[in-house]
């Protein structure tokens, strides 16, 4: 079942087109990524879905409801972590959770969230005294305190150190495991590759692709190596590589060989070389990444 359906969303500010026909749908129980460089309409799109902004045209359904007409009902069922929001400096962690829980008809027990998100020992700490990672965990806990069906997390690991990012990722997986659909806005490729079931790639106010991270990256990888021995026949050493099912193509220039393939082709190629006692050096595998996929889709590099 689609939890969110967005069709042909358009919005412009002062003549500048921000959203140029955005469509996608989010299925129940998945982590859906919204990926793109800054300023490509990701946040605007999500804020339209949350009912914080009105699109100029297009339709949005969240759990079958219109986020503008049925604003209250939608807000009751979604949880939101916004980019660049703070809490009052002097509010205590437990007060914030207790307060936000009181906004919802059927909230979660915030004491549980305090434990889950590792904030139990910061219960009485003031917001202003928390570290960046702790503040971020509190924001996510606040997004979940209303017991939402869908949680929107916007750039949740920006400004966190690598260790804190890893921890946050594990927690987001736990959120999905608890049955909450997650919409994750991010400009980090690694984050999206690690977490998302499906990704919508944004560029200049448009969705240029929707697929799984693996599907976006595509099958094709490249492997390069140099033959250590000169063979008389010229092609003999690499003959048979083309016949491997995982290999797409082989090109050769003197002793330098480039093999393209998909999936686990590297293992098949090295096994073939070993079987035929072919010695190689300078072996390198270029895996395509989401960065490459983005460049291929948009004709420009990510940042």
């Amino acid at each position: 079942m689609a939890v969110i359906e967005v069709t042909d969303l358009r919005k412009s500010y002062a003549g500048l087109t921000v959203l140029d026909g955005v469509s996608f749908s989010v299925e129940e129980g998945e982590i859906f990524g919204i990926l793109g460089p800054n300023g490509t309409g990701k946040t605007t799109t999500v804020e339209c879905v949350e009912g914080l902004r009105r699109p100029d045209s297009g339709s949005i359904r969240v759990l079958g409801l219109d986020p503008v007409k049925d604003a209250r009902k939608v807000r009751e069922r979604i949880g939101v972590q916004l980019q660049q929001t703070q809490l009052p400096e002097n509010i205590k962690v437990w007060e914030a959770l207790d307060l936000y829980a009181s906004f919802y008809a059927d909230p979660r027990d915030w004491r549980e969230l305090l434990e889950e998100w590792g904030l139990a020992d910061k219960r009485d700490a003031r917001f202003g005294k928390l570290s960046g990672g702790q503040q971020q965990r509190l924001f996510i806990a606040l997004a979940l305190v209303g017991n939402p069906r869908v949680a929107f997390l916007d750039e949740l690991t920006t400004g966190l150190d690598p260790q804190a990012r890893r921890t946050t990722w594990e927690l987001v997986k736990k959120v999905r495991a608890s049955g909450v659909t997650v919409v994750l806005v991010s400009h980090f490729m690694d984050e999206v590759e690690e977490l998302c079931d499906r990704v919508a790639v944004f560029d200049r106010g448009k969705v240029v692709a929707i697929d799984t991270p693996a599907g976006l990256v595509g099958g094709e990888h490249r492997m390069r190596f140099t033959l250590m021995t000169e063979d008389a026949s010229g092609q003999g050493d690499t003959a048979g590589l083309e016949d491997l099912p995982e290999v797409i193509g082989v090109s050769r220039e003197g002793r330098r060989v480039v093999v393209t393939g998909r999936g686990d082709f590297a293992t098949a190629v090295t096994a073939h070389l070993a079987r035929n006692h072919i010695l190689v050096s300078d072996l390198r595998i270029d895996k395509r990444t989401l960065d490459d996929a983005f460049a291929a889709l948009t004709g420009r590099s990510f940042e």
Binding site: T85, P88, E95, S102, Y104
Partner: protein
């Protein structure tokens, strides 16, 4: 809504600014209070006007503009609760703070200093209400226009001193140029101070000044409502 009020009250008590708006007028009252003659009708109204002015022009706009700057109002719009509730709670709290500040001044002045208290309780309450409304309206306008909390604070200070001067809160009115004193009477703080003095002198406040206060409250708050941005 109740919980919001409780939490906001706690936050207000953790705000040093709130304590200042209680203590500064009290300090002025006590320092000058030792030298007043019994039956003085100037000092206490002045302290009251300063107290209400501080809450309305400093504390209210700074709090609201900071809430907007920090995205707190925006975050609230993503919950089932409307951010307008926070505004209402803040207005009520600041009103309570202004009442508390004035109550404290009256209590200290009435007991320790033996100052004169007005006999016309109803007209005193009416003046307080209209004066506070016009001060809060200006505070709301500052909150609507200021890009952030610090700017709101700055605008508050910038407005407060000329307004306090024109209102005759910084020096006795008879030492001010007649023209300035006359104009000052029609500024919000001036009309408020003058009405208070009239009540303290035992008379009824001039309907013209009450009308001026009501007009300020209405026009300025409508303008503020029109200009207010949630983010």
């Amino acid at each position: 809504m109740m919980k919001l009020a409780v939490v906001e009250t706690r936050l207000l008590t953790r705000e040093p600014g709130a304590l200042f708006s209680l203590l500064i007028p009290l300090f002025i009252l006590v320092v000058f209070g030792s030298s007043i003659e019994p039956g003085d009708t100037v000092l206490l109204p002045m302290a009251l006007a300063i107290a209400v002015g501080m809450v309305g022009l400093y504390l209210l706009p700074t709090t609201l503009a900071t809430y907007r700057e920090r995205g707190i109002l925006r975050r609230l719009s993503a919950t089932p609760v409307r951010p307008g509730n926070l505004l209402v709670v803040q207005l009520l709290l600041q009103l309570i703070l202004a009442v508390t500040a004035c109550g404290l001044l009256l209590a200290v002045a009435g007991t320790v200093l033996g100052a004169r208290l007005p006999t016309g309780v109803a007209s005193a309450a009416l003046v307080f209400l209209l004066g506070t409304a016009s001060m809060f309206a200006i505070g709301l306008l500052i909150a609507a226009l200021a890009p952030n909390g610090r700017a709101a604070n700055g605008i508050g200070v910038l407005l407060y001193f000329p307004m306090a001067y024109l209102a005759g809160l910084m020096q006795p009115k008879d030492q001010m140029p007649a023209m300035v004193a006359r104009i000052g009477e029609y500024t919000p703080l001036g009309a408020f101070g003058q009405s208070l003095r009239e009540v303290w002198a035992g008379g009824a406040p001039s309907p013209l000044l009450l009308g001026v206060l009501a007009a300020y409250a209405l026009v300025v708050s409508l303008t503020a409502a029109k200009l207010f941005r949630w983010e």
